[in-house]
Amino acid sequence: MDAIRAARLTRVYPQAPPGVRALDDLSLTVPSGRVFGLIGRNGAGKTTFIRIAATQLEPTAGQIEILGHDVMTQTDQVRARIACVPQESRPLYFLTVEEAIRLNLGLRGMSRQIARSRTQEVLGELSLTELATRSISRLSGGQRRRVMVAMVLATEAELIFLDEPTTGLDPIARREVWGAIRRATREGRTTLLTTHYLDEAETLSSRLALIERGRLVLEGTPQDLRGRVRSPYRVTVEGSFSLEELRSFGTARAIEPGFLVFASEANARALAQEALRRGARVAFGPVDLEDIFLEVVGRRIEDDREEAVAA
């Protein structure tokens, strides 16, 4: 069964300027038992989607089912099986780290004994054991964020919503969170994740959706998404080439130092060989999610501008 099935979901905020839709006829399916990444620019509608799916916000139109239950008519069944780290959420500051995690489990009805052991587990997993008895008010921003993630990953929820869980985390802490998310996946749970770290989205997610202005732009496996751009390979070269020359291989622009070229696989290989022959520094590989993001979103912004000018 799918974890999330949204059909023609629209959300218009009451005070929004006329014509602005935070979500605009968005249809999206999230399969269960995997990590699904939701990416898009600031204001694209990611949080709005999560808040509707997590029963915090009403949709203006459209349907959405969570684990087979309608969010509006079968809300209790949905709430029994989900947990959420909202964007910019923080734990209650007067609790200790251990209390914040354990009491959240108690709130959700877990027995004392199980709550204690799950708390210890997640503390260890996210390197919080040393901070267990520390008051939240005396933690750094990133440490607090980790406690929020721990609170939710420790629950029994089948579907977990993480809205920018790793914002402000150091590279090691981020990887610990990744590990904990992967473990949740191995336990058969589903995670819906938003992040602006596209390497993170790509590493963790088995499928990704790119949204822009409330509309779905791309959806698929990271592999699928690569196939959707005009030039699936990126080559960086330093020296020995002019921009003009490089443009015959694909779209090229100057970067510091050297040039960045997006090209088809054949052209990218040809360029790399030519660069090696000339003894220039060269790096070559498939485009990453950030390239796709920049190309696709950039193109849409251009299109919108042209439309606006035409109108």
Binding site: R51, T55, D76, C84, S89
Partner: protein, 248 residues
């Protein structure tokens, strides 16, 4: 959530928002003690002890109202600044369990104040089973409607500063203008009519009766219970329909 789990959630909220913060900062307990006690002090001194019973009755009602306004600021702060309500909404915890648990956790802060008032109340010789039942019943209803009002408003406020603006207005409307600290008979006729719109007027008559200040008629007491109970019920229904648990 099973009934047992609902009770567990309520107990956890009391621990989370009542017992633990008090353990960390016991001075919190003085907060709800301050203003009812200062009223009691002024009324007691100014009347040479004659109106002490009104001061005690008013102090207990004001304390229960403060539970509601305290709840309102806490809930607004948690919802807005910590996104705590969103965490709770996306969980099996129901809105009624959250309301009851948080309202009980705020009640914990009023215990020292209530102990002082009940001490004076018993010392002055007002104890009897009937008085005790009337007192507890009326105060529970005040706690219930004040908390329900606080909870409902907290789901609307966009920031805590709004609650700082609203709370004094609510206190004024529910505890200073209505005859909570003095007998309704000391108000001019027209003001008595206005006071009849406040539920605290009815609660005050019951509590003043249970503190040996007024001797209400049987019919009068029935009216007090019906109006106070009806008002509380109406607020609960309003909360069910209007509190923004899931944002519209």
């Amino acid at each position: 959530m099973s009934l047992r789990q609902q009770f567990q959630a309520i107990g956890t909220l009391v621990q989370l928002n009542g017992l633990i913060p008090i353990r960390a900062q016991p001075l919190y307990l003085l907060n709800l003690l301050a203003s009812p006690l200062s009223f009691l002090f002024f009324i007691g001194i100014a009347s040479g002890g004659r109106l002490l019973g009104y001061g005690v009755a008013g102090g207990m009602i004001l304390t229960m109202l403060s539970v509601g306004t305290g709840l309102q600021s806490d809930l607004t702060h948690y919802r807005h600044d910590l996104k705590f309500q969103d965490v709770i909404v996306s969980s099996p915890v129901t809105a009624p369990a959250y309301l009851v648990g948080m309202a009980l956790s705020e009640f914990v802060y009023s215990l020292p104040g209530m102990a002082v008032f009940l001490g004076i109340w018993a010392y002055e010789g007002w104890w009897s089973w009937t008085n005790a039942i009337v007192l507890v019943g009326a105060l529970v209803l005040v706690w219930a409607f004040a908390s329900t009002l606080g909870f409902t408003l907290a789901t609307y406020f966009e920031d805590v500063r709004e609650t700082f603006m609203f709370s004094p207005l609510i206190s004024l409307g529910l505890s200073v203008l209505p005859p909570v600290y003095y007998p309704i008979s000391s108000l001019p006729g027209w003001a008595q009519k206005i006071a009849l719109f406040s539920p605290t007027t009815y609660a005050a008559q019951l509590v003043q009766g249970a503190s040996g200040q007024v001797a209400p008629s049987f019919a009068g007491a029935v009216v007090d219970w019906v109006v106070l109970g009806g008002f509380t019920l109406a607020l609960l229904l309003l909360a069910t329909a209007k509190a923004r648990w899931r944002e519209p």
